[in-house]
Every structure is written in structure tokens, then in C-alpha cells.
């Protein structure tokens, strides 16, 4: 089925997530969509799959205007989306997930479904056990299941959102082989990814999004440099760089491995010294957040050693880390960082060491006022924190951090902020550096990472690069590593 996106616009408040995107995808082609985090890829796909409604613009399918109001509409029209975290029901069996939602009578037609499942599995070289429970499957297998289900239901357009995050190389090959077969049958595939090598090897055509706009298209043979250039653009002036000689080591990781359900990160050895800034680069979901939380004591590594100022702290609680001068700022503002229902005064009162049993209202309010001014937060001491805009919530999180920390760990410190705010916030952070704090931060904004770090570690699929000097590493080199190229061969 041919897909025609015409002038798609979508804004969330002041953020123009999709800015007049027009794209034609011929039937039976594998269309790659490349872009950084925040480029607008997810929004566009959500619109195409019915989870969001565009502010304006049209979607034409096979020369007919499509009315898309909900995921059910797209299901009927033949558009299927394979999410990064597949929308399946973990406690149920594979076969039941497969046939869930398909019309039928009182008894589930398991026989029919089993036959279809084994047919499709065979055709694509997957091996799924129909009686296994989905929660026991790997992410790759859950994806395979969802893919087969969508095909069985007759999807003619398949959208895959970052499908290769967290699956093995073998599963990836199987997936790609199946996608090629599917496209040969005339079905259209939209492959959203940040992994250059995969996009280059799989896709018939590539479209690159940046900051909400379609900045370019390409067909094979692809030039990696050109793609990277389109994705990341030119460096904007980000203020002066901070050059400081590092002091003694604040944090040392030796051969650390961190695990969660989806991925294994490491083994990684890194260190950071006083006044140093380390940037953890890479697309989201590559393992940076996991490692950062291990440095904060929120997750316990399964292997290796962590030392804070020479003291072995592996196995200590998060509060133990806090007591030793570590500060942590989460990315999920309202879920993990702020308390909806409490106002700014109360937040600042919470993070300050209490001056006695009673809260001194006026002192607390004036302290909040000072912080509000110092951090340019658009709000009053009485503003409930959930009423603030995303950017102001971010500033609040920064303002809540204690003074005189030995190590400051930041997850996406400037996400959702305009360029001036980014510069301004980094001024504040640099001040802390000058006072002796070491900083490790995660960001998917390459410009920010390059400009403000002394050294950079790149993450890709759980693998961690050795430390790269920020000054001398080029955008291209970083972009390639982020996209998965240039890593030494070996088991992931």
C-alpha cells in the first residue's frame, strides 16, 4: 500500500514536533526514518498509527484520503504498528496473544491460529513456542510474535519503531530477512531507527528528520557522512567551553556490569575527577541511564567495583550514596523527581536540612523566592509543581540539588528547553564544577555532549566506548559510534 503524508503539523504547546512534513512512500518499499531523539519521528508514527491526531495535514493511502481517529481505524485500514515495547499481554501464552482481538465465536479457534502461526513462523524463520508465556520471551521474540500477528491480520503497512533495541544479532538478521520478504509481497514497511548501519543495509529509501522537519531524503548507495550530517546538523554556539585541570578522582568504576530485564551494560571501567564533566552519549535505551543509576546507588551492579573517593561502596543503599555527597537528577520529572500536589516552597523545604521541627513559613517562602529568581523559574513560591511547564520543572529539579556535592549525576538535564535555557543552565552547572563538583550527565543532544564534556563515553546497545576527549572528537566520529558503526567486532 502506498502511503502519502501531506503537510503534517503537530504541536505540543510551543514545541513544534512535526512541522509540515510531507513524505511519499511507494508500495512495497522499506522506508527508513532517521533522526535524533526529539526530531519528531515518534510523533509522526503515532499520528500515522492513530494514537495521536495531527493538528493539520492529510494522510493518503493508495490514493484515498484516510480518516484516522483511533488505533482501531488504522487497524481496519491495514496499518499496523510494532512498538518498541510490544503491546502484548505478558501473563498470557503466545498463542493466545496471537489470536487476541481477532473475531470469532465463543471458543477460541486455537487450531486455526496454531496453523497460521506455525505457517508464518516457518516462512520467516522464527521459532516461537505457541504454549510459552509471553513474559518469558525475550524482547526480540515478542517483536516477532507481534509482527506475525499484524501480518496475519492483513496489515499492508507495518511501522516498526526502533525494533532492534534489545534484541540479539541473530534475531536481528531473522527480522531483517522477514521484512525483506514482507516487502516483496507488496506490503510497505516504515523502519524508524537511529542505527545507521541497519538503515543503510535494510532500507530502499531513507528520510531524515531534524527538529520536526524533513531535512532530506536518500537512496542507495548511501553516504554515511551525508546522513550523519543531515541528522545532527551544524554546531550552534553554546557559550565558552570550560577548561579545567582535573583534581583527585571522585568516582571509579572497575569492570562494572549492570543488568536489567532488557539489556546488559558493560563491562565498563571509567573514572571521573573533581571538576571534570563526563558526557554519556548515545540514543535513549542504549544503557546510559542504567549505568548512571548504578553510579547513584539506585541499581546494584551484578559485577565489578564502585569506589567513591577511594571507598568501596558497592552494595550500599541509595541513601548511603547521598550521604557521601552524590546528587542524582532523574529524567522523569513528575514521576521520579517532583511531587505533584506540593508547591515550590514545599519542595525547597524538603530538600534543605531542616532548621528545627517547625517549618518557618516565611523563611521557606523567601528561600523559594530566591531559588526561583536564581534559576529563572516562571512561577511563584505557591505554584503547585504540576502547573509548571516542562522546562520550568527541569529548572526546579536543578534548583533542588544540594550544594557542595562531590558528584552530580544528571539524566537529560536540559531536555525540553530552548537553546538559551540550555546555555544558562550549563553556566550554573559550570559554577558547581568550579567549586569542585564532578559531573556525569546523560544526553541525547550531541551538541550539548560535545560542548560541555571534558570526556565522552558513547553507548550503543549496552556497549560502552572508552573515554573520548570531547575537544578532539568530531561530530562524525561520535555520530557513527552512536549509530552503531565503528565498534570493534565481537559479541555484543
Amino acid at each position: 500500500m502506498r502511503v502519502d503524508l501531506r503537510q503534517i503539523h503537530k504541536s505540543f504547546g510551543p514545541v513544534h514536533a512535526n512541522d509540515g512534513i510531507s513524505l511519499t512512500i511507494p508500495a512495497g518499499s522499506i522506508q527508513g526514518i532517521l533522526g535524533e531523539n526529539g526530531a519528531g519521528k515518534s510523533t509522526l508514527m503515532k499520528i500515522l498509527s492513530g494514537f495521536q491526531k495531527a493538528d493539520s495535514g492529510e494522510i493518503w493511502l493508495d490514493d484515498r484520503l484516510a480518516q484516522i481517529d483511533s488505533p482501531q481505524d488504522t487497524g481496519r485500514l491495514g496499518i499496523g504498528m510494532l512498538h518498541q515495547d510490544p503491546l502484548d499481554v505478558p501473563p498470557m501464552r503466545v498463542i493466545d496473544n496471537f489470536l487476541l482481538g481477532k473475531d470469532g465465536g465463543l471458543r477460541p479457534r486455537r487450531g486455526q491460529a496454531r496453523a497460521a502461526l506455525s505457517d508464518l513462523s516457518l516462512r520467516f524463520g522464527f521459532s516461537l513456542d505457541p504454549d510459552a508465556y509471553v513474559e518469558a520471551l525475550t524482547v526480540g521474540e515478542r517483536q516477532q510474535l507481534e509482527l506475525l500477528r499484524l501480518l496475519w491480520l492483513g496489515a499492508r503497512v507495518l511501522i516498526l519503531d526502533e525494533p532492534t533495541t534489545g534484541i540479539s544479532a541473530l534475531q536481528k538478521e531473522a527480522l531483517f530477512a522477514s521484512l525483506r520478504k514482507v516487502s516483496e509481497e507488496g506490503r510497505t514497511i516504515i523502519f524508524v531507527s537511529h542505527k545507521l548501519e541497519e538503515v543503510e543495509s535494510l532500507c530502499h529509501r531513507v528520510a531524515v528528520l531534524r527538529r520536526g522537519r524533513l531535512v532530506g531524503e536518500a537512496v542507495p548507495p548511501y553516504s554515511t557522512d551525508r546522513l550523519v550530517g543531515m541528522m545532527f546538523g551544524r554546531v550552534i554556539s553554546l557559550g565558552s567551553r570550560l577548561e579545567t585541570p582535573p583534581g583527585e578522582r571522585v568516582l571509579e568504576l572497575d569492570d562494572v556490569i549492570v543488568e536489567d530485564r532488557r539489556m546488559t551494560v558493560g563491562p565498563v571501567s571509567l573514572h571521573v575527577a573533581r571538576q571534570e564533566v563526563i558526557g554519556l552519549a548515545g540514543m535513549e535505551g542504549s544503557g546510559q541511564q542504567l549505568l548512571l543509576r548504578a553510579c547513584a546507588g539506585l541499581i546494584r551492579p551484578v559485577h565489578g567495583r564502585i569506589r567513591l573517593a577511594g571507598e568501596n561502596v558497592l552494595g550500599r543503599s541509595y541513601h548511603g550514596f547521598l550521604q557521601r555527597g552524590v546528587g542524582f537528577m532523574p529524567a522523569a520529572r513528575l514521576e521520579e523527581g517532583l511531587i505533584p500536589g506540593l508547591d515550590l516552597t514545599e519542595h525547597f523545604a524538603l530538600t534543605q536540612p531542616p532548621s528545627g521541627v517547625m517549618i518557618q513559613r516565611e523563611a521557606a517562602q523567601s528561600r523559594a523566592g530566591t531559588q526561583i529568581d536564581a534559576f529563572h523559574i516562571k512561577g511563584t513560591p505557591q505554584s503547585p509543581v504540576e502547573d509548571l511547564s516542562g522546562g520550568n520543572q527541569q529548572r526546579t529539579l536543578l534548583a533542588l540539588l544540594r550544594d557542595n556535592l562531590a558528584l552530580l549525576l544528571l539524566e537529560h538535564p536540559t531536555r525540553g528547553l530552548d537553546i538559551e535555557s540550555v546555555v544558562w543552565i550549563w553556566d550554573k552547572l559550570k559554577e558547581r564544577c568550579r567549586q569542585g563538583t564532578a559531573i556525569i550527565f546523560v544526553s541525547s543532544d550531541l551538541d550539548e555532549v560535545r560542548h560541555y564534556s571534558d570526556r565522552i563515553h558513547v553507548f550503543f546497545g549496552g556497549r560502552v566506548s572508552p573515554s573520548l576527549p570531547a575537544r578532539s572528537t568530531t561530530v562524525d566520529e561520535l555520530g557513527q559510534l552512536i549509530g552503531g558503526k565503528g565498534w570493534p567486532e565481537g559479541a555484543p
Binding site: 505540543f12 504547546g13 510551543p14 511531587i339 506540593l342 514545599e346 524538603l350 530538600t351 533542588l400
Partner: protein, 351 residues
């Protein structure tokens, strides 16, 4: 979200009250009873004379104590349904302490004080048990609390019929009544003890102070509203949750102590008298904020006392009070939901 005030908020609350009255009137009509007469009886029965008003205060004291405690656990985000059992255990401990000190020659004031402290301890321990079950056993505090409620009642019944039974004929009427000297002194000719009122006011003031004015209260509220963020910000969430349980249990235990020393002067089977569950309703009605609680508690206590007359005068069951109380909470909750729907929030700046 700030508790619902503002013009539309007040209007909706009044609407809820009206609907609750309408509903209860409807029920009365279904039961074939004269509504206005029933309401009149309730008013007269609770406020008709000084004695009646003091009777309301007698019911008000344990209710305020229990509800004050519940405000603490609600602040921490907990549904402490086990409050009934905590009141009962308080009563049991108080009775035990009084029995021990009864013949020891201690001055009565000391004995009573010991009894009160024992009651607070008993309630606090019972609440701690529920808290530990939740924190380390993963047992939801609703069911842990419920189960412990039943165990508490059984414990009190066993004591009444067993080891603490009245010599000769152990019966449902409770243990041997304590001598007058071991009761909280009451006002002349009335059942009300000003000491009990003082206790209630003190308990309320303590909770008000803690929740509104201290760092402890602020941290507790943070834990209740977003335990994950509270943890990340450095608050020891488990410790605070257990403290909330202990505090509430202590206040519930004090309520139980008052029931023994000032109301019944002995241990009876249903000594908690439903004040725990009623307290939960009062807390819901005041949206978990202390400010109006004593007033609403007085109103609820008045309804309870006022409807005692109903079986005698109108042949109606006194649980009419419960119907009106429940309807009030229900319609207030409903109005809150309607208000939320009408005030459609704007789509926030998305990610």
C-alpha cells in the same frame, strides 16, 4: 492539587449535601417513615438539651482521636482500615493496665495515666504490626488491617469470657466494671469527662501541628503523594510509612483507652463501636485535611447520638445515621468527580 475550595467548589459541596438529604429522605419514604419527623428527632436527640450535647461530646472524643490518627496515615498515602483493631487493642491494654494497678495502692490518677499510656502503646503496636506486614510482607494494608481487626475482636471476646471474665457468670456485658475511682472524672451528673475532651483536643492539635507546620508532616505528605520521587529526593520512605502507622495506632489506642476509662468503665466486646470506620468516612469527607475535621466529626457524632431515639420513638433502626453519613461521603466524592470532568485539563507540553 489543593483541596477543593473556590466558589464552584463550595457550590458543588452544598449540592452534594442536598443530594445526600434527598437520598436519605427517599430511603425514609421507602421505609414508610415520616422524614421530617425523623430529622426532628435526630436534632432533638442530639442537641435538645445540655445533657444530650454532652453525650454527643462523649462520642465525639474517640471519633476525633481516631480521625486525627487517620489523617496521618492518609497523609502517607495509606488506607489504615485496621484502625478499628487499633482502638480495640488500646482498650485491651488499658484494661490490662488498670487491672494490674487496681489493687496495688497507687493513687488513682497515676493508675489512670498508666492506663492511658498503655492504651496508646497497645494501639501503636497493633498498627506497627500492620505496617510491618505491608512493608516486609507485601500484604496490602487494607486486608492486613481487616484481618487484624477480626483478631482484635476475638482477642477481646476471649479475654471477656476467659481470663478476665466476671467471676461466676462471664457474659457479653463485659468484664467486671472498674471502681469509680479508676474512671476519668466526669462532670456532675453527666457522662462527659473534660479530661477526655482535653485528650481529644490535644490529639487533634498534635496532628494539626505535625501535618501543617513541621518538616515531618511535609515529608510524610511527600511520601504519600509520590513515594518514588520522595525516595529519590532522599526521604527514607519505609521509615516514614511505619511512623505514620505507629502514630495513628497510638491515637486509636488513646480512643480505646477513653472508651474504657470514661465511657464504659470496663472492657466490652465491641468496644471500638465502629469509630474507626466512621473516622475513615469523616476523613474522606474533609478531603483528608485537618481544618474542618472537628466540626464534621461533631456533626457525625450528633447524627449517631440523635438517632438513638429513633427505635424508641419511631420504630426505626438507628442505622439511619449511617445511611446519611454514607450518602454524604458518596455524593461529595461524586461531585468531586463531576467537577474534574467539567474542568477538562489542558493538554500539557508533551514529550
Amino acid at each position: 492539587m489543593r483541596p477543593g475550595v473556590g466558589v464552584s467548589g463550595v457550590a458543588l459541596r452544598l449540592g452534594a449535601v442536598l443530594l445526600a438529604l434527598l437520598f436519605t429522605t427517599g430511603i425514609l419514604l421507602v421505609a414508610g417513615a415520616p422524614p421530617l419527623e425523623a430529622y426532628r428527632q435526630i436534632v432533638v436527640g442530639s442537641l435538645g438539651s445540655v445533657k444530650k450535647i454532652t453525650d454527643v461530646l462523649v462520642a465525639w472524643v474517640p471519633l476525633v482521636l481516631a480521625t486525627s490518627g487517620l489523617l496521618v496515615t492518609f497523609a502517607a498515602g495509606l488506607w489504615n482500615i485496621g484502625i478499628e483493631g487499633q482502638i480495640t487493642l488500646g482498650a485491651i491494654f488499658t484494661t490490662g493496665a488498670l487491672r494490674l494497678t487496681m489493687d496495688s495502692g497507687l493513687p488513682p490518677a497515676v493508675a489512670i495515666a498508666a492506663g492511658l499510656l498503655a492504651g496508646i502503646l497497645g494501639g501503636a503496636l497493633w498498627a506497627l504490626l500492620a505496617g510491618l506486614l505491608k512493608a516486609y510482607g507485601g500484604v496490602n494494608e487494607i486486608f492486613g488491617g481487616l484481618g487484624l481487626n477480626f483478631v482484635a475482636v476475638a482477642l477481646s471476646v476471649w479475654l471477656i469470657f476467659g481470663p478476665w471474665g466476671r467471676p461466676g457468670v462471664a457474659s457479653m456485658s463485659g468484664t467486671e466494671p472498674f471502681p469509680d475511682s479508676l474512671s476519668l472524672p466526669a462532670l456532675a451528673g453527666l457522662r462527659l469527662s473534660p479530661w477526655a475532651v482535653l485528650l481529644a483536643v490535644g490529639g487533634f492539635a498534635l496532628v494539626f501541628f505535625l501535618l501543617q507546620g513541621t518538616y515531618f508532616g511535609l515529608r510524610l505528605k511527600a511520601v504519600g503523594k509520590n513515594p518514588r520521587a520522595a525516595f529519590v529526593l532522599g526521604i527514607p520512605t519505609v521509615r516514614y510509612m511505619l511512623l505514620a502507622f505507629v502514630l495513628c495506632g497510638g491515637l486509636g489506642g488513646a480512643a480505646g483507652a477513653v472508651q474504657v476509662t470514661a465511657v464504659y468503665h470496663r472492657l466490652i466486646p465491641a468496644i471500638s463501636s465502629g469509630y474507626g470506620y466512621l473516622g475513615l468516612m469523616v476523613a474522606m469527607l474533609v478531603n483528608y485535611q485537618p481544618t474542618w475535621m472537628p466540626l464534621v466529626a461533631f456533626f457525625f457524632a450528633a447524627l449517631n447520638i440523635g438517632s438513638i431515639q429513633l427505635p424508641i420513638v419511631l420504630k426505626l433502626d438507628s442505622s439511619l445515621a449511617g445511611v446519611l453519613q454514607g450518602a454524604l461521603v458518596l455524593f461529595v466524592l461524586g461531585m468531586e468527580g463531576v467537577r474534574r470532568r467539567l474542568r477538562r485539563p489542558r493538554v500539557r507540553v508533551g514529550e
